[in-house]
Each structure stands twice: as structure tokens, then as C-alpha cells.
Amino acid sequence: MSNEQIVQSKGQVAQGIGHTDHHVHEGGHHHHHESFISKYIFSMDHKMIAKQFLLTGIIWAVIGGLMSVLFRLQLAYPDQSFPILETFLGKWAKGGHITPEAYYALVTTHGTVLVFFVLTAGLSGTFANFLIPLQVGARDMASPFLNMLSYWFFFSAAMVMLCSIFVETGPFSGGWTAYPPLSALGSASPGSKTGMDLWLVSMALFVVSSLLGGLNYIATILNMRTKGMSMTRLPLTIWALFFTAVLGVLSFPVLLSGFILLIFDRNFGTSFYLSDIYVNGVGALPNEGGSAILYQHLFWFLGHPEVYIIILPAMGIVSEVMSINSRKPVFGYMAMVGSLFAIAILAFLVWAHHMFVSGLNPFLGSFFVLLTLLIAVPSAIKVFNWLTTLWRGNIRFTPAMLYSIGFVSMFISGGLTGVFLGNSALDIHLHDTYFIIAHFHIVMGVAGMFGMFTGIYHWFPKMYGRHLNNTLGYIHFWVTFVGAYLIFWPMHYEGLAGMPRRYYDFSNWESFKMFEGVNIFITIVATVVFAAQLLFLFNFFYSMFKGRKNTSQNPWGATTLEWTTPVEPMHGNWPGEIPEVYRWAYDYGRDGKEFIQQTTPVGADESTNH
């Protein structure tokens, strides 16, 4: 809905012709005329689109998670045969052994899917869509149509990726970073044949999706805030989603350009990334003069901001939920916004720390060391602020709150290992070992997922008008939290011993085979944690239809605008006029009151923040 339309519909309300059922007047969008297709499939309601992102994300999380269980099985039991695998995977698991081709395809698809489809689309796609209009006080996104397109581009990206799994030469298998020449030469690896073309098409569609979404988020936050909602009164979720969108809009096009050059090298005989190559069994290739390192620069110019695209929304969600359930304002609101801003700026200046051992000029590398370790400062500020938010609060352990505490714990653990890796002299030894696997899984994977779970448990009542089962939530949290540490903590030791990542089998390596027992342990825990996610899935889908009905408009006692809508908000969110905002989002415990909603006018004798 555009601004004019909103003004128009506001005006109608003001003139007294507004009617609950007629809150959205334009273009045949009558509430009661919505067909199944326009309501559930090609929906332009931001809340429905958010749910579409969430469901698609969940499906991919299950696929990606299952893949990790499969390749963990290979790592733990390289000599054992599992006939059931052959039943399901056919030639990819001949004789019950996952083949190297299948192993690398699983690893690659797991990475791509989890990073882009689950933790980018599933996390910021879901919560940016759901929360931005609700929390800034808008009836919908700036462009509901582009928003719908954003989801359907994502959906087609997902479909193409799904197809790539079933092509004869297999899906792409050169790692989610897709470094050429391996990704450029079908003759170097079967996965780089049709599978790679589909991978590139899928990723290109995905970039379009996230650009359409990102532009919408930025436009909505900047232009469509309700009366009184100044930028400094925005909840931290919105600030985080805003910076996320800016990062995405500025960095995804660079990734796309890198992919386009790769498509040219693959199909049209150009040599952007290729030079001096002799492939076994094929011979010397005609390409000369390209640079394989160029791709790495283009890739990581997105690739690094990408990890902040994942973690910033999680930070925002956690800040919000932690404040609500501590019944206490988030500590240092401006410092929280400032550190988000600092992280967003620095995100663009650290990409080459992924390339310390690529032959990068050491002098250039030293700048990237400095800038990378600088990021630890705003990150530390955030952690201290979260800790102080808990301090002298009155904490309610809802499942969402547990996940937000778990997030902080994971963020600390994974953030600190970043201090090792960002320091290039140490990175030489730790680069591409299990240490880096442990680092990014904890700080980005697990912490990102915890942010997502925080959001789901917290806003489920707003999404579906029902509550998730708490007991299942608690079991889910504790198994996942303990399990995540059990899986990734020992990996640091494997990495310190130099054990390389992306190895199919370590048993022939004198230097690495002593971790056999550890690998078995990790695989067992990973399987249990995966099973615990099934509890969540059941809880999610069961509660969607049969959960305890939410009867309260504001079940958590929160201050933000989404809890002023009806229990199940309709398209347009507020039946009457959009509420006006008088204060910041964190008036918990002020003047002895438990909480004061943003819509409550400031009393004459009251002090205010922002």
C-alpha cells in the first residue's frame, strides 16, 4: 500500500466513513472478497508473505539439517556400510557408503541452503516482513506487490536448487563459496556440470529476491512510520532489520556480478577467472590472463556482509525479547543502535580476511587484520549491554527468553574464536580447519538459528493467534543448547590440530586420524539434536491448528505497536486509525509501572527517553 493510499484510508477513518471491514479500500482488496489464491498463495499481505518465507525456510532447514546428518555419518563411520542409504540415495551411496561425489554435494548444498535459504530468507525474510509494518505502524510494506515478487523469486530460487539435486551429474559439489576454477570447469568435477549451472541460476534468482525485499524494507522503515514514531523511538528489531536491508542492497549486486562473470567463463569462453590451466584427461585450456582471486574478492564482498545479514536480525530480535522478558529497558539503546551501525559499516571493510592465505599482498592483509579485530569492539558493547539488561531485572523464562539467553552465550563463544581467526598470523594455521567450522557454526549458524527460534516462539501468538506448547519449547531449547556445544566445542581441538575441513575420510592421514572417537561422538550428538528439531516441527504445525488459543491482545506485556492490533490482525493490521506513538519502545519498569505501551501519551509529570 502506498503512502497516499494510507493517507486516504486514514482520512476515511477520520471522516467517519471508515468501517472495520473496509479498512483497505483500494483496487478490489476487500477483506471479505479474498480468494484462497490471493490470501494464501499470491498474497500481498506482509504477514502472509512472512509466513511463506518462514515455512519455506523451515522446509529447507529440515533438508539442510538432514544432509548434515548424512555427511556426519560418513565422517564418523567411514568404513561401515549402511544399506538403507543405498535404498534412498541409489548410486550416490553404492554399497551403503556415501560416495565422495555425494559427500561433497551434501556439504555444498548444506552450506548454500543454510546460509541463503534458511538464515537469510528464513530469518530476515520472515521477521522483516512480519515486524516492519507492525512495529513502525504501517498497514503494509511500501510496495506489497514487490514484496510478493520477492517471495516468489525466492520460491523459484528454491525450486531450481531443488531440481539441481536431481540432475544426473549431481548438484554442485565445490563448496558453498564456489571458487573457480573448480566451479568453472565441468571437466574438473562432475558437480561443476549441469548442477553448477542450476546453482548459479538459483543464486541469481535469490539475489533478485533479496534486493526486492531489501528495497521494500528500507523504503517502509524510512517513509511509513506512524505519527510520533521518530527513528530513535523504533524498537531495536527495526533498526537491526534496517541495517540488514542496507547491507543486502549494497552487497548482493556485487555477488551477482561475480556470478555473471562466472556464468560467462563457464559458457561463453571468457577468461575472467581462468588462466594457465591443464586439466587431467582434457589437456590445456585456451584461457589465459584471468585471475581466480578476483572471484574471491567479489564473492567475499558479499560473503562477509552476508554473515552480518544473518546475525543482525538475530541481534535485534534478541535485544527486544530480552528486554521484554527482563521487564527492564534494553541497556544503552543508543549504544545498541550505534554498534549496529558500526558493524554495518565495518562489514564492508573486512572481506579479505577470508583470503589471508590466498597470496594476498601482506601489507593489504594487515589493514584487514586491524579492521576485522575492530569489529570485536561493537560486538563486545552489545554483549555487555545484554548482560546489563539482565542485571537487576525480573526475568521470565519463556522459551523465547531462553533462546535469547542461549544466543548471547553462543555469540560470546563464537565471537571470541573470531579474535583468533581475524589475526592473520594465527589464521595461517587455523584457516580451512575444523576451528573455522566450529567458529562460524557457533557464531553464525547456531546463534542465527537461536535468533530465529527466539522470534518464532515470541511472535507465534501474533502470527497464528495460538500459543506454542511451552513444555516442548523447553525440551527443545535445552537439548539444542547443550547439543550445540557438545557438537562444536570439540571441533576447536580438531582445528587446533590442523584437521582440514571438507575431507571425506581422515583414516589415511597420520596427522588427523586420532580424532576418530571425537568424530563419532559429534555425529551421535548431531543426530540427537536433529531429532530434537522434529519436536519443534511437531510443536509448530500442531500448535498452528490445535494450540492453546491466544486470548490476550498483549500476552507478553510488551510495549511495541504489534501488540495493539487485534489478536489476529487482518490485512491492514489495525481496524481503525493507525495508532500514534508517544514514547520509545522500552518503558519497562519506569516509575514503578510494569510497562507502558508506546501508544500511551506521556503524562505531565513524567520524564521520557527519546
Binding site: Y104, I277, Y278, S366, L390, A425, I428, H429
Partner: protein, 367 residues
């Protein structure tokens, strides 16, 4: 059959959990939301502190059983700096880890919801915020300084007396090249590669179609795929190439690593401290080898792309080098003077020069 039993048991466990979860929801409705919230709050508050205590014990236990499996003393002089820096960073981050994690779980436990617990309305405090911005900044600056000093040592020029070896990655193995008696690596060109007898594409002869002129210094280059021999105590500089996709020379025992990029040669240097034989003794592992692991995914055989380094004494090295034949003679045995049955004085003198050159080391230079 056992699979079905396992599946049945798992499903049963799930059903039991669901039933308990549902029942607890009904109970909470009967008891009243407030009361049941208080109860679960208490349980979770306790679990927070229990997790912290058990977690810290777990950290200690994990270290206890795994510390013996991580690398021992660095096998290179430069690696000592890595280990020292690793130690400092672990101590610094360990302190921060301990403080922040303990506070996180302790606060969660201590400030769990209680009746009559007054919440402190504390939106911000500039002093403390400045303090905890400045302290991390200072600590990190110190780490950056330590790191960059080491970084410039590692990536700086190799010492003048370094031995130079060229290492080239290919799917899925490594090719090592020594400069031979003239101490100069001959030119090579990738289109000149012949898998049967010229794996690096050395330019031994003129090639009009490729517009190449023969490089005489290529004729004495020694090429092997067996193992790289280097000398204990003498710095070695590796010139790293790739023939096809990106590989990576990973040297865990020497704490060094560098990508092999097609078309862009890279370098790496280090000073080995112990011979392979000494390491066998030190590690107590008779099968110990200095393995080169490929650390950059390079295709389906990535995990099997192993190279070997033999660190030997100077005498052993000289003996080994004396046995090596230039690659050119391996490719064209008829040109090899030593294969001519009648040994004349000329070839004898060449052989002695060659062994002298090897003994004096081969300060090679890349052309």
C-alpha cells in the same frame, strides 16, 4: 529388522514426550497461568546455573581428554611464534569467556522472576559504556600488534640462505621441482605439459606453434612426485603453483599454509627444526610423517591429496640429491650421458659439479 525396532522406539519416545507436553499444558491451565509460570521459571532458573557449572566442568574435561591429541611442539622455528600467539590469545579470550558466560548465567539465575523483586529502570550509563568500549579496544590493539609483527615475519622475504623448492598442485597430488645444478628454475608453459613425460610443461626445446624458445636452464631441473626433501635447520622457501584448480599447501606441523592458485605463483617459507626421524621419536609414533594436506576444496579427491615432506640432515640430503636425475633425462633417456655405457671424463666432471652444487645448496631463482 533392528532398524524397524529403533524406529519404533524413537516414535514411542516422541509420543511420550508429546503426551507429557500436552498434559502439562492442561495442568497449567487448571493451576492458573501465574502459578505454573512461577514453577517453570524456577526450574529454568535452576537449569541456567546448572548448565553453567556442568558446562565449565565439561570444558575442563574436554580439554583434559583432547589436549594430548592437538599438536605438540612446533616443528618449525616460525611455528613457535604461532604457538606463543595462540597461547596469549587463548588466555585473553579465555578470561573474557569466563567472565561474560558466568555473568550471563548468574544474572539469569539471580534475577529470575520473583514477587516483590524491584526492577531497576536503567536505560543507560555513559561512564560504564565508555569503559567497556575502551578496554576491549586496547586489548585488541595489543593483539593486533603482536599479530602483525608475526605476520610480517611470516610473509616477509625468506632468508638469503634459503633452499628453494617449487611445489605444484594438481588433481590430486603434488609435484616437487628442484632447480638442479645451475640453481635456476627453467621456464615452463602450461600448454607444453605432457602427462607422460613433462608434467610441468618445462620448455626443453623450441616450439614454433606455441612460440616458445628452449630454456637451457630447464634441462637440469629435478622433478619428483614422491616426496619433498628439505634440510633440518635450513630455511626453505616454497614457490607454490597449481596446474588446474585452487589447492592449498597445508603444513600443520610447521604451522604454515598457502593457497596454490593457477596462473598466480605464491610463496611460503619456514625453518624446519626436527628431522622426520626425530619427530618419530618425539611423537612416539613410528608411522609419523610430515604430511602436506590440501586445505582448499579441489574436487572429489580433495581428501586424498596428500604430499610428503622428508626433513633430513644435510648429509642425507646430499646423498638423496646425488641420486636424482634431471627430469629431462627421464623424459629422453637417450640424451642422458650417464646412460651411455662408456663413461668419459666429461660426464664424470659434470656429475661431480652436480653433487657439489647440491652440497652447496641450490639457491634457486624463479624465472
Amino acid at each position: 529388522m533392528s532398524i524397524y525396532y529403533t524406529a519404533a522406539v524413537i516414535i514411542l519416545v516422541f509420543v511420550v514426550i508429546f503426551q507429557i507436553a500436552k498434559a502439562s499444558e492442561y495442568v497449567s491451565i487448571l493451576k492458573g497461568e501465574d502459578k505454573s509460570r512461577k514453577q517453570t521459571n524456577k526450574i529454568n532458573g535452576f537449569l541456567m546455573i546448572a548448565f553453567m557449572v556442568l558446562g565449565l566442568i565439561g570444558v575442563w574435561y574436554c580439554h583434559h581428554i583432547l589436549q594430548g591429541r592437538i599438536l605438540g611442539e612446533s616443528a618449525s622455528v616460525e611455528g613457535e611464534r604461532v604457538d606463543e600467539m595462540m597461547y596469549i590469545t587463548t588466555v585473553v579470550t579465555g578470561i573474557v569467556f569466563l567472565i561474560t558466560q558466568v555473568l550471563l548465567f548468574w544474572f539469569s539465575y539471580k534475577y529470575q522472576e520473583r514477587e516483590n523483586q524491584k526492577v531497576l529502570f536503567l536505560p543507560h550509563n555513559n561512564t560504564i559504556e565508555i569503559v567497556w568500549t575502551v578496554i576491549p579496544a586496547i586489548v585488541l590493539s595489543v593483539l593486533v600488534v603482536i599479530g602483525l609483527r608475526n605476520w610480517f615475519v611470516f610473509t616477509g622475504d625468506a632468508p638469503k640462505n634459503s633452499q628453494v623448492v617449487e611445489i605444484t598442485g594438481k588433481q590430486f597430488g603434488w609435484i616437487y621441482r628442484y632447480a638442479g645444478k645451475d640453481n635456476e628454475f627453467g621456464k615452463k608453459y602450461f600448454r607444453n605439459i605432457d602427462p607422460s613425460n613433462n608434467s610441468l610443461g618445462l620448455i626443453w626445446a623450441d616450439n614454433a606453434s606455441l612460440n616458445l624458445k628452449a630454456d637451457p636452464s630447464a634441462q637440469d631441473d629435478i622433478v619428483t612426485e614422491q616426496a619433498m626433501y628439505i634440510v633440518k635447520g635450513r630455511p626453505v622457501k616454497l614457490i607454490i603453483n597449481s596446474r588446474d584448480v585452487i589447492h592449498d599447501v597445508g603444513l600443520v606441523h610447521f604451522r604454515m599454509k598457502m593457497d596454490a592458485v593457477p596462473g598466480i605463483p605464491t610463496t611460503l617459507w619456514f625453518t624446519p627444526k626436527f628431522t622426520t626421524a626425530e619427530m618419530k621419536e618425539k611423537t612416539g609414533n613410528p608411522d609419523f610423517q610430515y604430511e602436506i594436506s590440501c586445505d582448499q576444496i579441489c574436487g572429489n579427491g580433495h581428501y586424498s591429496m596428500k604430499g610428503l615432506i622428508q626433513v633430513v640432515t644435510q648429509e642425507e640430503y646430499d646423498a638423496w640429491m646425488a641420486k636424482q636425475k634431471p627430469y629431462y633425462y627421464a623424459a629422453f633417456p637417450d640424451k642422458d650421458p650417464s646412460s651411455v655405457p662408456v663413461v668419459d671424463s666429461v660426464s664424470k666432471s659434470t656429475a661431480s659439479i652436480s653433487s657439489q652444487a647440491a652440497a652447496g645448496g641450490s639457491q634457486g631463482k624463479m624465472k
